[in-house]
């Protein structure tokens, strides 16, 4: 790839360049602190007891059953501290992060970059809609194991699997979503251009990160890797425009159209589906109607890819 590209964001934990990631890391740190306190306490008592109360000649253990009012109170206080300080605090912070950020999907007003990802043994097929905003049309841009995204724009993706369960894992973006055959799952993230880790890695030059598979998906699970490249907006647009042209060329190449075998193989690449964003339909946008169930397809389970109209629309999905 481009030698100018930097990246990978190694570290423990892996560097985070996403907008929502600080919620995850922040809560992790909260638990870190709570755990260090509890663990130190347990080990201190354990070690102290082992040293101070080791068997000595003539010394006798205390004969108590721990059933006095004081013992009960001690257990109640401990229970309350754990319940309030750990359980409730973590559930509360976690839920707030989910509602305010992680599960707060971008609406159409946020102009998200829509992407479809089809997982297979052992690769990630990635599809961009092209200028018409619709998937499975001649102007789609399709890549393999190569996700390119702009900064500052939410990336909203649909995920499906061809064969077995995979898990789309972007460690540096704190994203992990399973790809399950038969259903469509989704996720989103955004990379702020002023993220200090991103700038530290050389942005505004393009920065590269790993895509990993997190779910055991067969013997080559380890090899199901890919790259995410983060571009500044104008560079991304330039790449995107070129990718669309390349894609269209492959669609309309006369040789492809004439040779039946080539054409079949080409059409097999048209695996896209109507994008599902689960959002409420927005009547102000005429495109929503044109997309049919795309805008409010809440129940996607078991649905097959629906062939859409267009030059090469045959939805070559075997079976149903």
């Amino acid at each position: 790839m481009n030698p100018e590209e930097r990246g990978f964001g190694s570290g423990v934990p892996a560097l985070d360049v996403s907008e929502h990631g600080h919620h995850i890391d922040g809560l992790t740190n909260y638990i870190n602190i709570a755990n260090v306190i509890f663990f130190t306490l347990v080990v201190a008592i354990l070690v102290w007891a082992c040293v101070a109360y080791r068997a000595r000649r003539g010394a006798r253990a205390q004969y108590v059953h721990g059933t006095s009012k004081r013992d009960f109170l001690m257990a109640a206080v401990l229970g309350a501290v754990v319940f309030l300080g750990l359980d409730l605090a973590i559930v509360f912070q976690g839920s707030r992060a989910l509602e305010e950020s992680i599960w707060r999907y971008p609406t159409r007003a946020d102009n998200p970059l829509q992407i479809e990802i089809l997982a297979q043994q052992w690769a990630w097929n990635i599809r961009y809609p092209g200028p018409d905003g619709r998937f499975n049309t001649a102007d789609d841009a399709v890549t393999l194991n190569d996700l390119r995204i702009p900064v500052d724009r939410p990336v909203l993706f649909n995920l499906r699997s061809r064969d077995v369960i995979h898990s789309f894992n972007l460690p540096n973006f704190r994203v992990k979503v399973d790809a399950v055959p038969g259903i469509t799952t989704r996720g989103w993230f955004r990379v702020p251009s002023n993220d200090p880790d991103l700038l530290g890695m050389g942005f505004p030059r393009p920065v590269r990160f790993n895509i990993a598979c997190a779910q055991m998906c067969g013997w080559a699970h380890y090899a199901m890797s890919g790259y995410v490249t983060v571009y500044k907006t104008d560079e991304f647009e330039r790449w995107y425009a070129q990718a669309v042209i390349d894609g269209r060329l492959r669609y309309t190449d006369p040789r492809t159209m004439e040779d039946a075998d080539l054409r079949r193989r080409e059409e097999e690449q048209h695996w896209g589906w109507d994008f599902q964003d689960w959002g409420e339909p927005r009547p102000s946008e005429p495109a929503a109607q044109a997309r049919g169930e795309g805008a409010h397809g809440g129940d996607a389970a078991g649905e097959n890819e629906r062939p859409s109209e267009g030059a090469a629309a045959a939805g070559h999905e075997g079976g149903e």
Partner: protein
Amino acid sequence: MEHAGHGDAHGHDDAHGHDDDDHIHPEPTTFLSKYVFSVDHKVIAKQFLFAGLFWLAWGGVMAMVIRWQLGYPGRPVPVLGEFLWQENGGALPAYSYSSFFTMHGTIMIFFAITPIMIGAFGNFCIPLMIGARDMIFPKLNMYSFWAFFIASIIMMTGFFVPGGHAATGWTAYPTLSTTIGQPGHGMSLWALGIFVSGASTIMGAVNYITTVIRLRAPGMGYFKLPLTVWGLWLTSILNALFVPVIGSAGLLLLMDRLFGTTFFIAGSSIIQGQGDPILFQHLFWIFGHPEVYILILPAWGIISDLLAFFARKPAYGYKATVFSMAAICVLSVLVYGHHMFTTGMSPLLSQGFMTFTMLISVPSAILFLNWLATIWKGSLHFTSPMLFSLGVVFVFGLGGLTGMYLGNITTDIYLHDTYFVVGHFHFTMAAAVFLGSFASIYFWFPKMFGKMMITSLSKVHFWLTIVPLTYLFGAMHIVGYGGMSRRLFDLSRYEFLWHLQPLQTSISISAFLLGSAQFIFVFNFFYSLAYGKKAAQNPWAVGTLEWQIPTPVPHYNFAEIPLVYNGPHEMSRPDMTDRDWLAQDEPPPSTPAKRGEPEPTAEPVAAE
């Protein structure tokens, strides 16, 4: 569990309990009926123990090979490589790697921990500790072992079929585990083996539950049971409820594989089917999460007893320990969804599972409080069972606390399916349970085999186990926190993980140290078995019933069914000066009770 609340009421009128087993059958005379097809719970316990130790060694060797690949990727495996992977230059191929970690998990869970903790010590301890002559269904007990034996053969066969053994991870998620991802017979044998071993477990569980309810000696109320029995009993209840679920999941999977059904196969671009792969995950984890507690509860019970015995103190907060364990059993059923946070589950459901998961920390904290308070102001004897019990408290502390990250949806997004999870469940399920197993073996060996083990060697074994073990699983958390996925054959495909390779190598070295240290145990075990010092009747000077009968335990255990007066850990009573323990079937000195009156008045446990 519903008995827990009014257990004492049952305990009082318990005279009917021993009617079930009043008569003594003649001792078996032939070799077959005595040692092979035995219905004696003590013999079956030993059969389970040896079978479990065999599988433990097998699974342990597999772990070493896995660690070799992770520590030294692509280098020829020493010793084994020449025989097994000659065509690959002695290095472990990726396919075999998948098979190895799959079978390591399967074997350790279903064929090592289950037979050792539940099969061996459940069988040995329950009748002896409750004052019974045998299990209530001795033949069912024998069938349980032989079903396990058949399951073992099925599992073993899988290693030798073309295409190799199952390679999906022990979770066996469809559609990978259907013929789409696993065309060979190994996976079918895996599913069948799980089904048959499940049948074995269910037979054992039904037997244990009934035995504890029906065969407690007169006076042995529920709250006078040793905590070991409580742990095993609660485990059996969970087993009886949830092993059938994994059994049916295995059977459905088998039908998908062999008979063309599509329970777990959903339509996608290259597959046809009307089923749902997520359904399997629900079935798997509604068993799988209780399974974690199925494995750890016996260890909790046992170390609760052992800490009290060797602190020479009554267990602190006995009832609180029992209720905490029971509460965890109930919660364990309500939290299984935390294994599925990334599957696109409904947010409401996810949050429910998250809340219940977090709640488990409350009863767990009470357990820790009770363990620490038990040794507080005791008179601690650092025998080998005691050392291993303290080890359980230490590593389970680590394992429990690291669970906080994984039970929470937010932090789980990053840590799900990473090595952090691997480290976490190895602390809880592997380290804590095996330290508990070693504690049990060192503690009950004298009663089981009539010989003493070598104390100095067992203490060396402890230190050479706990140190590498803590480093090994602790460092796995760091690798996972760095972002490494589970089940990776080789991390070199991921540039952001390259910096973790030295750490991986150090983990492997630590694993090899841990593995080598187990030879000390093997030697100690077999040497003591053959040449060990003859054990006294009650070498640890404790009061539970199994130590009040001769060593080795006679056929039919108790010449006369004992009458129980006391709780299990009446140690260091101020009204006793000659010794610091009181047997459960011995009237307390301050209140000489007559036989036939099983409830002495000034008995402190009953006064609670």
